[in-house]
């Protein structure tokens, strides 16, 4: 049994079948790539896994628990975190606050503690802030901790999103095109950081990209989808030589 199991999932929007009979199995510690051309259904798969949509058919299990009817927040609490393709930071919060928010679901303080500012709350706040700083240091964002998230440059915003996701202490981390909009140099650096995070925090990472180069360099297993269906599954080397993949990417021209 894997850490994340998707079994025979199908999702339709009206007449359009966005995801068709999809299977996916991640083992603990995997760095798993999900690739496919634009419009292949990658983001829909992400939204199914994280509970934004419910699948029409099939099941999704996180660490042995069926989650495909759960709300996103509940799934996050169980140990799944994500980033978004079109960065979704909390714009009016500072960098530090964005990271601290990720700890809300594990808070020990009650409403009373919050309103009266008890010692218990102050200690917890101190601890949360300390942890958040540690994470920010790793991702080289600590010097800008008190700036508004919206004031960060693009690349830093992407890094902050990953930091925030990691702060929830997930079992599985989903990254939706983390290198989008980055130059090759930045992308390579980010990939190293992702690999390092997987080892350091002992988590499983599922990465969506449509840039093949990025994924090839970092993922150990890759699944290729097109029109909502799996067309190939294997190691980067196997995928690179797969004629179906080449055709999907070149548009069969």
């Amino acid at each position: 049994m894997g850490i994340l199991d998707i079994k025979a999932c199908t999702k339709r929007f009206g007449g359009l079948v966005a995801v068709k009979d999809l299977n996916m199995a991640l083992q603990p510690g995997d760095l798993y790539g999900l690739i496919g051309p634009n419009g292949a259904g990658k983001t829909t798969i992400f939204n199914l896994i994280t509970g934004v949509y419910a699948p029409d058919e099939g099941s999704i299990e996180l660490d042995g628990t069926a989650i495909h009817r759960w709300k996103p927040a509940a799934i996050a609490r169980l140990g799944m975190s994500r980033t978004f393709q079109n960065i979704r930071l909390f714009q009016s919060m500072t960098v530090l606050e964005n990271v601290k928010l990720a700890r809300h679901m594990r808070k020990k303080q009650g409403l009373f503690d919050a309103i009266v500012r008890t010692e218990k709350l102050k200690e917890e706040e101190k601890e949360v802030e300390h942890d958040a700083y540690e994470l920010l240091k790793i991702f080289n964002l600590d010097t800008r901790a008190h700036e508004l998230a919206s004031n960060l440059p693009y690349g830093s915003q992407r890094r902050l999103e990953i930091t925030r996701a990691l702060a929830t202490k997930p079992k599985v981390l989903l990254l939706d095109e983390p290198a989008a909009g980055m130059n090759p140099q930045e992308a390579r650096e980010l990939m190293r950081l992702i690999q390092w995070s997987r080892d350091q925090f002992q988590i499983t990472i599922l990465l969506v990209e449509h840039n093949m180069q990025v994924v090839m360099g970092v993922c150990e297993k890759i699944q290729v989808v097109d029109y909502g269906e799996t067309i190939a599954l294997g190691s980067p080397r196997e995928i690179q030589g797969d004629p179906k993949v080449i055709e999907a990417y070149l548009g069969g021209a």
Binding site: A73, F84, S92, K100, R164
Partner: protein
């Protein structure tokens, strides 16, 4: 420990002012000061839901009314037996006990009303929430109009006067400090995360519906307390004091000051209460100018008069981004 000393000093100062204020500024100004206090509670509490959590409620007057009537009923009907139970206390302390019990009832009833409105409607999109809260306010008003035990359309008279400068401003202090603390806790971050991006908040494990309902209920409870203080000051309640124009006025207060900022809400409450009182004796033309001012502020300074300025040390809190 220091906390308690601060509170004792504040209470002593309030008591001292209570004894001398009316003589110093006259009865008319004293009444305005009381109204300012009540409006500060209303504005700061509405700011929690509208400014901090980013939901748009335009029915705050409904919860204000619920609190006012709940407290007035408890004191009017239960007053004698409560007084008998605490007969050993001096008269002033008896008044205090009555007011506290009334305000407690007000907070609970208004909170329950908030829960009843919030649970179904906070799942809805912003505009719908706005109109549901407005509708709720109107329904409450019509219900009160039809309830004869609390005066119906004649109004509720014979409410004992229990609140005064001391109690109102003690409540103002408690409201401001509670909400300030709340906003700077983990809950506060959750409120703001819902305002900034609900989808991201959900993905970070924040149960957004729960957070919205929580913010809504807390906000309603404080509105209820404001209602209690109002009823026990004016000694008379009428449903027409709680028209939706009352809700609009509270919204204007928090917007003028700067949405999301407690200081802004306080400033807005002071300004608007005074302006409305001063305008009362002049014609509609002054009110026209007042409304135009509102439009112009929204057009030329949508972040409000204070914007992101803050009185306290900047502890990682900013105003909403548009």
């Amino acid at each position: 420990m220091r906390k308690w000393i601060y509170w004792l000093v504040a209470i002593a100062a309030l008591a001292g002012l209570q004894a001398s204020l009316k003589g110093l500024i006259g009865a008319y100004n004293y009444q305005i000061v009381i109204l300012v206090g009540i409006n500060i509670i209303l504005a700061v509490s509405l700011n929690l839901i509208n400014g901090v959590t980013g939901q748009f409620s335009i029915g705050h007057a409904g919860f204000y009314a619920v609190g006012a009537y709940a407290s007035a009923s408890v004191v009017f009907y239960g007053g004698p037996s409560i007084r008998a139970a605490v007969a050993f206390l001096p008269a002033m302390a008896q008044d205090g006990v009555l007011l506290l019990m009334g305000s407690f009832a007000a907070a609970i009833t208004a909170g329950l009303a908030g829960l009843a409105v919030g649970i179904p409607s906070l799942r809805l999109r912003g505009d719908y929430l706005a109109i549901v809260t407005l509708g709720f306010g109107e329904i409450i008003r019509v219900l009160i109009l039809n309830l004869d035990v609390i005066g119906g359309s004649r109004g509720f008279s014979g409410i004992p006067q229990l609140s005064n400068f001391f109690w109102v401003y003690l409540a103002v202090l408690i409201t401001i400090i509670s909400i300030h603390n709340l906003v700077h806790s983990s809950y506060g971050r959750a409120f703001v995360s819902v305002r900034d991006d609900e989808i991201a908040a959900e993905a970070m494990g924040v149960d957004t519906t729960r957070i919205k309902v929580m913010s809504f209920v807390i906000s309603s409870m404080f509105a209820g307390i404001a209602g209690s203080l109002f009823g026990h000051y004016t000694m008379y309640l009428h449903p027409n004091s709680f028209l939706f124009t009352t809700s609009f006025n509270i919204i204007i207060m928090i917007v003028i000051g700067g949405l999301g900022s407690i200081e802004g809400a306080v400033l807005g409450a002071i300004l608007i209460t005074i302006i409305l009182e001063v305008f009362r004796e002049f014609g509609a033309m002054r009110l026209v100018n007042f409304s135009i001012l509102l439009v112009l502020i929204m057009l030329y300074r949508p972040q409000g008069l204070l914007g992101t300025w803050t009185l306290f040390k900047k502890r990682d809190r900013a105003a909403p981004a548009n």
